[in-house]
Structure formats: C-alpha cells, structure tokens
C-alpha cells in the first residue's frame, strides 16, 4: 500500500511540476525563448505573495488575484524590453541575458531577504489536512487543489490558444512572425501578450510552490527551473498536455525513489529524465500538440 500511496502522491506532484513547466513551454513554443530566469521569476512571485499577504491581510488563497496580474504586467514589460531586444540580436544573447537575469534575481533575493525560507499559508487547513483512504493512503488536500489548478490552467491555455482571437494571433506570430506582421498583427505586442500569459502561470507556480514547500532564493533554479525543464523534455518539447504527462512521470519517479530511500527523491527524477533523453529524445508523447 505504501507503493500505491507513493504513486498517487507522485501523480499529484506531477500537477505542480506541470504548473512549473507550462510557462517555460509557452515561452519556447511562441517566442523560441528558453527563459533561464523562469524559476527565479516564480520565486519572485512567491515573495510578492508573501509580502502582499503580510501587508494587506488578504486571504492567502485569494492572493493570486493580485499576484497574477502583477506578474502578467511584469511579463509583458520584460518581453517588450529586455527579451525582445535580445531576441532581435541572437539566440545566444537571449540565453546570456536570461541567465544573467537569473543570477541577478537569485543574488538580489539573497541580499535583501536573506537565505531564510518562507512558506505561504503554512497554518491553513488546506495545507495541513489530507484525505485519508484507509490507514496507508493519505492524500494532501493542497496537492489535489494544485493538480486541479494545473489541469484548469492547461485547459484554459489550450482553449485560449485554439479558439480565441488572441490565441490565433499568438499561433500565427509563432509560426511566422514576419508574415503575421505583414497581415497586420504587431508581433511584438502579441509576444508581449504571450509572455504575460506565461508569467501569469509562473505566478501561480510560485504561490503553489510556496504553499506546498518553502520558498528560498535558490529554489528558483535548484527546483523550479530544473524540474520544469525535466517535465518538458520527458513530455515532449512544445506540447502542453505532454508537459502534464511529463510532470506526472517526473513526480512518480521522485516518489518511488523517495520510497526506496528518502535521499533518492530528486536523483530518481533526474535519472528518468536522462533515460528519456537517451531513449526518446523527442519525449514520450509523439503527437505534437500546438505550441
């Protein structure tokens, strides 16, 4: 039964990893930007949530209503300035600039907020309670909620990209930005919208991580960016649903590793990632969904 419990936990943490990954996937799919600062931006969103909750006393669960718009605006601004100007130069510049941003954010957080960990809503019933199925299986309520949020976000993104006007603009600009520009779509603005969407999901990821675990300045790269990337590669590049599946595979691998020996948790996840890289570099979902 302990193994069944591990697998259930793994599947549910997969939802969290998919939430980490969908912003990364979206930025790459649309702008061809691999945002190395992705995880650090999620941590920034988490810190913003901590600050807002402390200052305004909004209920913890509703803090996302403030943090998501803030991050979306920040995403639009960052895309229109820093990221677009690096894209105009070269892929190499984009990597250097986002890597620089990652290092600067991480060290600035360390400098201003110390290395202390911070949790979000640690004394909330939702965070502490779990559904008990028998004596062996305990499912944290928070993980179920995060999984549901991840599915809703992925469904929403899927619907937005395939059915809405802006979704069509985003897909058109992703396919051929010059042609989209000729047809009257300002691709820079469209990329800004896509970045705003991606950063909105990054904000949710940061808050979810802060509730599930503890935020600290190094969590952005050590955990969020690398897990997100592993989920994206396992699930197949550029596929939103593949990302969810990739997150689940990563989560299950980690939980099974932890079941063998708690210190194997992270390592087991990476080993599965490397195995996928060796056996199926195109990911485990072959059908390529839209980017």
């Amino acid at each position: 039964m302990a193994w069944v419990n591990a697998i259930i936990q793994g599947v549910l943490t997969g939802g969290l990893y998919a939430l980490f990954a969908c912003g990364l996937s979206l930025m790459f799919g649309v702008m061809k930007v691999v945002n190395l600062a992705h995880g650090d931006l999620a941590v920034v969103a988490g810190y913003v949530a901590v600050g807002i909750i402390a200052v305004t006393h909004v209920p913890v669960l509703w803090s996302f209503l403030i943090v998501v718009p803030i991050m979306a605006v920040a995403g639009y601004a960052l895309q229109r300035t820093l990221i677009q100007s690096s894209l105009d130069r070269s892929v190499l510049t984009t990597l250097i600039v986002t890597f620089g941003l990652s290092v600067v954010i991480e060290n600035a957080l360390l400098q201003f907020f110390t290395a202390n960990t911070r949790g979000i809503g640690a004394n909330l019933g939702l965070v502490q309670d779990s559904f008990n199925l028998g004596s062996q299986i305990q499912i944290g309520q928070l993980l179920v909620v995060i999984f549901a949020v991840a599915v809703v976000v992925l469904l929403g993104l899927q619907y937005f990209l395939s059915a809405s006007k802006y979704g069509r603009l985003i897909r058109a600009s992703a396919d051929d930005k010059e042609a989209a520009q000729l047809s009257g779509a300002d691709y820079r603005h469209v990329f800004g919208i896509a970045a705003a969407l991606a950063f909105g999901t990054v904000a949710l990821a940061g808050i979810a991580y802060g509730m599930y675990s503890q935020l600290d300045p190094t969590a952005g790269t050590d955990t969020i960016l690398l897990f997100a990337f592993a989920a994206v590669v396992i699930g197949g590049l550029g596929s939103l649903w593949g990302t969810l599946l990739g997150g689940i595979v990563l989560g299950v691998a980690q939980q099974i590793g932890a079941q063998i020996n708690i210190s194997y948790e992270v390592l087991a996840g990476y080993l599965v990632f490397l195995l996928v890289l060796v056996l199926r570099p195109e990911g485990i979902t072959t059908r390529r969904a839209q980017s």
Binding site: V91, I96, G100, L267, L277, P281
Partner: protein
C-alpha cells in the same frame, strides 16, 4: 566578408593570406615575458597577492574554456560546474589514496576530459537553450550521485589530505605555480587548437552550418572535441580550486556560480576572442576585490554589466579596443592581403 582559406592554397599575384593585419611576433615575446615575470611572483610579492592571483588563474582558465564553448563552438553550457566539481573530487579521491594533490591535478584534468565523452553523448541531442538547461540538470545529477558516497564526505565534503607536509609558504608558492601552469597550458592549447583545423571548421560553422556540413566539415566531431577540451580545462580549474581551498564541499564545487562567473567574465571581456577572457578576468577580479565585503553584490553587478554588454556592446571590452585600434594580440583567423591593401575584417560574434 571572411576569408577562410588554407594558407597553402596557391597565392595569386600580389595576394597573400595572413593571420593578422599586423605583425604579432612581438605579442608572443610579450606573453612569454609576462609568464616569466608571473612565475617569479612568489619570490617578489606577499603571499596574499599570490593567493588572489590563484583565484584569478581559476577564473581565467574557466572563462577561456567557456569562451571556447560559447564563443567559438556556439555551445552555451550552464553546467560547466559539473567539471569543476569532478576535477576537485578526482584530486580528493587520489589524495585519500596517497597520491600528492599536485600530481593528481593533471590526472584530474584528463579524467574530466574522459568523463566529458559520455556526457556529450547525452546532451548533444539538444540545441541552444535546451542544451543549456540539460547541462545544468546533468551537473545537478552528478552532484547528487557524488553526495551518495560517504567515503568521500557525502553531502558535507572532506578536507583535502596530503598537503600537511608542506610549509605554508612553500604550499602557497606551489599552488601559485600550479595555477600559472594550468592557465598557460589551457590558453596555449586553445590558441593552438583554434589556429589549426578545428578553428577553421568552427569558423565555417559559425558563418553557415549547412554550407560547412555540405563541404565535408566534421561539425559533430569538432563540437565533441571542444566539449572534451572544455571539460578537461574546467576539471583542471576544479582541481586547482580543491588545492587552494584545502577542502572539497559538494555544494561549493558544484555551484552554478562557477558558470555564472566564467560566462560573465567572458562576455564582459569579449566573446569569441582569445583576449576577451583575459580582460574579463581583470574586470571580474577588480570588482570582486572591491566589493568583497558586500557579499553577493559583486555577482549582481557583474550580471547586470554582462547583460548590458550582451545587449549594447556585443563584442565586449576587447571588441571596443579592436574596433578602434585594429588590434588582435592572439589572432586565430585569416586575412586576405590584396595588392591594394587589407581585406575587410571578418565579422566576429557568432549569431547563435
């Protein structure tokens, strides 16, 4: 327009392919004098100075290797700390088994070069940004694996044995000479490689990969060679780090901060030139020494400067010098000397 021609091709009347727009024989002599003077430093300066210089040698070696990867081969690795850590651990393991850390240093470099082969097989499937994060994951994985072995210190690390027999002054001097040797060997190796066939292939790939491939350039092999050499170089720097710190701690030697430092120093100095990492290391050391008492600030400032340079002065500080006085101290390209004068300088910065 770049002229990529073998010097052996039959020269037409009045045309000549040269390495540089001016004679650089004196550069070699100058470099030799600098190395000789640096080698005498333990006799003429305080040990505090040589200790700082060892740090500079580590950064310069790392930056030169990152420059080879990103500046010449277009491989943006964010996982070079894997080799820094492995180099340190090779020295630790050999020292535990009774081999002098100084003798272990070259073994560590070769060992890291060998380890780079299977790692390349893993990450070479991915391109640009995904390559960058994959190398990062690889470095994290290697650290997690090494932390599992309690005989080499597990998660906390171990002090480096085998150096207790040296007097403090002698140890400082030996460490300094080892550092100087690592840096000189690394830079000469890179210079020779880039002036040879490898440099030619990499230049061709940078200008047009498809054309290079269809002309029979062995692009994959060239990239593999660069990755192995960079692995060995970063491993040597890691071995030096272990000797200068007298201890090996996994979270310190496998820190992504190493890659941040080597990348920022290279970018600020000038990506894709031999001189760039030297200039960048000087900027790095000045900033680091000035801001030493302000914790992480030097890294924040270094990162911001590197981002600014990447956006607004893509050829870095050395690029600015080169633009204004047409100077390459260590030329690795070719120029066409026409009867009417010099051909146009070749374009530099790799586009991706």
């Amino acid at each position: 327009m770049s002229v990529v021609a073998e010097p052996s091709t039959r020269p037409s009347e009045g045309f000549r392919v040269t390495r540089s727009r001016r004679n650089v024989a004196w550069t070699g002599a100058g470099a030799l004098i600098v190395v000789v003077v640096l080698a005498m430093f333990p006799f003429i300066v305080y040990s505090g100075t040589t200790t700082i210089l060892v740090q500079a040698f580590i950064v310069l070696t790392l930056a030169s290797m990152w420059n080879l990867l990103a500046g010449y081969a277009g491989l943006v690795s964010v996982g070079q700390q894997a080799f820094v850590g492995l180099g340190a651990y090779f020295v630790l393991i050999l020292a535990i088994n009774g081999i002098s850390p100084f003798a272990a240093l070259p073994v560590a470099a070769v060992g890291c070069g060998v380890v780079a082969l299977p790692l390349w097989w893993l990450v070479s499937r991915l391109r640009s940004g995904y390559f960058a994060i994959a190398t990062w994951v690889l470095a994290a994985t290697i650290m997690l694996v090494i932390e599992r072995f309690s005989s080499i210190g597990g998660g906390t690390g171990l002090p480096l044995p085998g150096l207790a027999g040296f007097s403090p002054n002698l140890l400082t001097a030996y460490t300094y000479w080892a550092g100087l040797a690592v840096t000189v060997v690394s830079m000469v190796a890179i210079y020779v490689l880039l002036r040879g066939r490898l440099g030619l292939v990499l230049t061709a790939v940078r200008d047009d990969e498809v054309a290079a491939r269809s002309s029979g350039a062995r692009v994959g092999l060239a990239r593999l060679l660069v990755f192995v050499v960079a692995g060995a170089g970063c491993g040597a720097a890691g071995a030096l780090l272990a000797i200068s710190q007298l201890q090996v701690q996994p979270s310190a030697v496998f820190s992504v901060q190493w890659t941040a430092e080597m990348a920022f120093a290279t970018i600020i100095g000038g990506l894709g030139t031999i001189e760039g990492p030297i200039v960048g290391t000087i900027v790095y050391m000045v900033l680091q020494q000035t801001l030493a008492s302000y914790n992480a600030w030097y890294l924040i400032i270094l990162g911001l400067v590197a981002m600014g340079v990447a956006l607004f002065a893509r050829r870095g500080l050395w690029g600015l010098v080169d633009e204004h006085v047409n100077l390459r101290l260590f030329p690795v390209g070719y120029y066409l000397r026409t009867p009417s004068g010099m051909g146009a300088p070749r374009p530099r910065v790799p586009s991706d």
